[in-house]
């Protein structure tokens, strides 16, 4: 059986890639994709810790978290895309550098 830290490393990489994508992309959709990656890194951690925890066949806590998390991620993606569309309608762009009307 593959040791736990492999999963954690994969998960950390996945998170780092998603974070980097969210930070560096200018396109709002790509930023959203980066966020999805970070979320899934978290999901992978939940699964891994559940599988390597005590009595995984009796306690489905980690699994339940992941199922909810995926559902929330779906909803969040829908909300995010809706926001992006309305931002696009307003600014005629999805470049986040130009969407800065909230500056102080």
């Amino acid at each position: 059986m593959t040791p736990l830290h492999y999963y954690l490393i994969v998960s950390a990489l996945l998170f780092a890639i998603g974070f980097a994508g969210a930070l560096t992309r200018r396109n709002a959709i790509l930023v959203l994709i980066g966020i999805e990656l970070m979320l899934n890194a978290g999901n992978l951690n939940f699964i891994a810790f559940w599988r390597y925890g005590s009595h995984p066949e009796h306690h489905f806590t980690g699994l339940m978290f992941v199922i909810f998390s995926i559902a929330i991620a779906a909803a969040e993606a829908a909300v995010g895309l809706a926001l992006i569309i309305s931002i696009y309608r307003h600014y005629k762009t999805t470049n986040l550098d130009q969407v800065n009307s909230m500056q102080g």
Binding site: A22, L23, V31, L96, Q103
Partner: protein, 692 residues
């Protein structure tokens, strides 16, 4: 008597209503104004006649003849003030006299004031005056009396100053108002004292009034300052008011000046009615003056003072009248003198004697003034008798009526009312116990009256020269002589009626049938032939006849029989006694003495007050204001440099820090994310390092 009593208030209310309506009427409505004022007065005259007939047959004794109706006016605390009106013979005869003479003078004014542009205002003031005078006559409360008294003074002021564009008229109005106010101060004090002593100001109130037995007895019994009875001192204070209004020496100075007003005003207010209000006041409070509730004449000290003041006034004013040249001023001084007679009569013989002279005087003096007005009108506002003369040819009606008035005033025997009323005064003076002085004063006054009236009539109507009447015209630089003309019939008819009254009134005044005396005192008496032919009465009648004859013939001899005089030449008396004449012509310098004493004192007081005001009180105020100014400067400094400066500093630093911090919120979402990531890594590192 009760029927008319309830409606007695209508008599003053009607002219008041007319005055109210007229005050809102515009000037062009002359016919309406005259009709309304005369109508109100005529209705008041009708009501007065009803009231008069109601008092002709008194039931019961002396107490029952005062029919009163009192109404509560206002309350304060437990006490409540009542006013009311009284109907007794005194009221009734005054009512009839005032409304009758008033109506005639109103009618006369229509002719006299026909050219005046303020015709409506004139009738408004006249009605106001009539209302106040009638209110005064019916008042059953000293307070109501006082209020009407002041209203009468006000309307007198308004009417004297009717031609207010003349400075002399404005000054005369002010003088009249202020001089009578001096007397009114005493009246007011007396009223307050009376209220304090008796607790009521009602004259008659079913035994509780201040002129009824209980109150009078109490007042006579109390002794105050200087050992005088309370009733005496209150009477004297009230008499001060009467002196001011009736022009008794030394407060007479306003009355001759009051002749600046239109002549009907002089006739109505300053001869017939208002100036008689003072005499009426003394007659009204006679029980208080006499210290005897039954109204019988006594020799109380208050009445002695009244007598002497009246006697001095009678002679003093008659002396001054001898040397005057203004037709109205002569009559004014004659009025003062006759008022002195009335006071004397009240003081010595009871109020019936004085009131009889008041009533007869009202008729013939109104007649004389209206006649003088007619002369002035005919001569185009000329008032100097030296510039008139020979007018009997031009003014036959005026001359005839004026002659009747002159003979009535002088006291020509038997057919003229004043002879009887004056004779009654002289008769009571003769039998007056304390002194014979007033009798001699009265005789002297009668002589002087006959003298100055003859002199005036000679100057105006007989002087053998063509009158120097002239009016300036627009085209000629020098005045053009014009012919004097008789007045229109609206002015002569009242003259004829008044002249008839001046004669006919003698019927009620003769000692053979002393109807008036009996009527006023409440017991009807029958023919008193025995009294009439008693030696004393016959003596006074003979004496006064001689005196009058002497006065008239002396004047006639001096002015008419001696060589005729030229226009502006000196008076006959002036040739005989220049010093005495100039003293008399200057009215004994009373005005100058007042000018030098009272007026100057007043001016000094005013100046001192002004100085105090400017420097003492003004300085105090200035100091306070400077203090306030200094404090406010301090306040401003504190505000600007302490409070505001600190606040501004705080605000500035807040703004700086906010502008620095606002750079962090630049709207770049990814920058925020970077910060979050950095913070999270630092947090993770702290956790990792902290675990070890």
């Amino acid at each position: 008597m009760t029927g008319i009593l309830h409606y007695l208030w209508l008599i003053p209310a009607l002219p008041l209503l007319a005055a109210g309506i007229l005050s809102l009427t515009r000037q062009p409505h002359r016919r309406f104004a005259a009709t309304l004022a005369i109508g109100a007065m005529a209705v008041a005259f009708g009501l007065s006649l009803l009231a008069f007939f109601a008092t002709l047959h008194p039931q019961g004794g002396i107490e029952a003849q005062h029919a009163v109706r009192n109404i509560p006016w206002f309350e304060f605390g437990a006490t409540h003030l009542r006013i009311g009106w009284v109907l007794d013979p005194l009221t009734a005869c005054m009512l009839v006299m005032v409304t009758f003479v008033g109506s005639l003078i109103f009618i006369y004014s229509v002719g006299y004031m026909a050219q005046d542009e303020n015709f409506t205002r004139f009738f408004c003031f006249l009605s106001l005056f009539a209302s106040a005078m009638l209110g005064l006559v019916i008042a059953n409360s000293l307070l109501l009396f006082f209020m009407c008294w002041e209203l009468v003074g006000l309307s007198s002021y308004l009417l004297i100053g009717f031609w207010y564009h003349k400075p002399s008229a404005a000054a005369a109005a002010k003088k009249a108002f202020i001089v009578t106010r001096i007397g009114d101060l005493g009246f007011f004090l007396g009223m307050l004292w009376l209220y304090a002593a008796t607790g009521t100001l009602l004259f008659y109130d079913d035994g509780k009034g201040c002129l009824e037995a209980a109150a009078i007895t109490k007042l006579v019994a109390q002794v105050t300052i200087g050992g005088m009875a309370l009733s005496t001192i209150i009477s004297l204070l009230i008499f001060c008011g009467a002196m001011g209004k009736s022009g008794q020496v030394p407060l007479h100075v306003w009355l001759p000046d009051a002749m600046e007003g239109p002549t009907p005003v002089s006739a109505l207010i300053h001869a017939a009615t208002m100036v008689a209000a003072g005499v009426f006041l003394v007659a009204r409070v006679y029980p208080l003056m006499a210290g005897d509730a039954s109204g019988a004449s006594t020799n109380s000290s208050a009445l002695t003072v009244v007598t002497w003041v009246g006697a001095i006034t009678a002679v003093f004013a008659a002396l001054v009248a001898v040397a005057q040249f203004d037709i109205k001023r002569i009559l004014a001084y004659s009025t003062v003198s006759q008022l002195g007679y009335m006071m004397m009569g009240i003081g010595m013989g009871g109020y019936a004697v004085g009131m009889l002279h008041l009533i007869t005087h009202a008729f013939f003096k109104a007649l004389l003034f209206l006649g003088a007005g007619s002369v002035i009108h005919a001569c185009h506002e000329e008032q100097d008798i030296r510039r008139m003369g020979g007018l009997q040819k031009h003014l036959p009606v005026t001359f005839a009526t004026y002659a009747v008035g002159m003979m009535a005033l002088s006291g020509v025997p038997l057919f003229f009312s004043s002879f009887w009323s004056k004779d009654e005064i002289l008769h009571s003076a003769l039998s007056w116990q304390p002194s014979r002085g007033p009798f001699y004063f009265g005789i002297a006054g009668a002589f002087l009256t006959a003298f100055y009236m003859t002199r005036q009539v000679w100057y105006v109507f007989f002087a053998r020269k063509e009158p120097h009447i002239s009016v300036p015209t627009a085209h000629a630089s020098h005045p053009v002589p014009v012919e004097p003309h008789e007045s229109p019939s609206i002015m002569t008819v009242p003259l004829i009626i008044l002249a008839a009254c001046a004669v006919l009134l003698s019927i009620i005044a003769t000692p053979v049938w002393p109807w008036f005396h009996a009527y006023l005192s409440g017991h009807l008496e029958h023919l008193q032939v025995s009294f009439a032919i008693s030696s004393q009465v016959l003596l006074t009648m003979l004496l006064s006849t001689c005196i009058v004859t002497a006065g008239i013939s002396l004047a006639w001899w001096l002015y008419a029989v001696k060589p005729a005089q030229k226009g502006e030449e000196a008076d006959a008396l002036e040739k005989l006694q220049p010093d005495v004449f100039s003293l008399l012509r200057d009215k004994f310098l009373i005005d100058e003495i007042y000018e030098a004493t009272a007026v100057r004192l007043n001016a000094v007081c005013a100046r001192v007050s002004d100085w105090l005001d400017q420097f003492l009180w003004g300085g105090l105020i200035q100091a306070v204001s400077f203090l306030v100014l200094g404090l406010s400067w301090l306040n401003r400094l504190l505000d600007e440099f302490v409070v505001n400066l600190g606040f501004d500093k705080g605000c500035g630093s807040l703004r700086t820090s906010a502008s620095i911090l606002s750079h962090f919120q630049n709207g770049q979402v990814q920058r925020y994310l970077k910060v979050i990531g950095l913070a999270m890594s630092i947090l993770a590192l702290i956790f990792i390092w902290g675990r070890k």
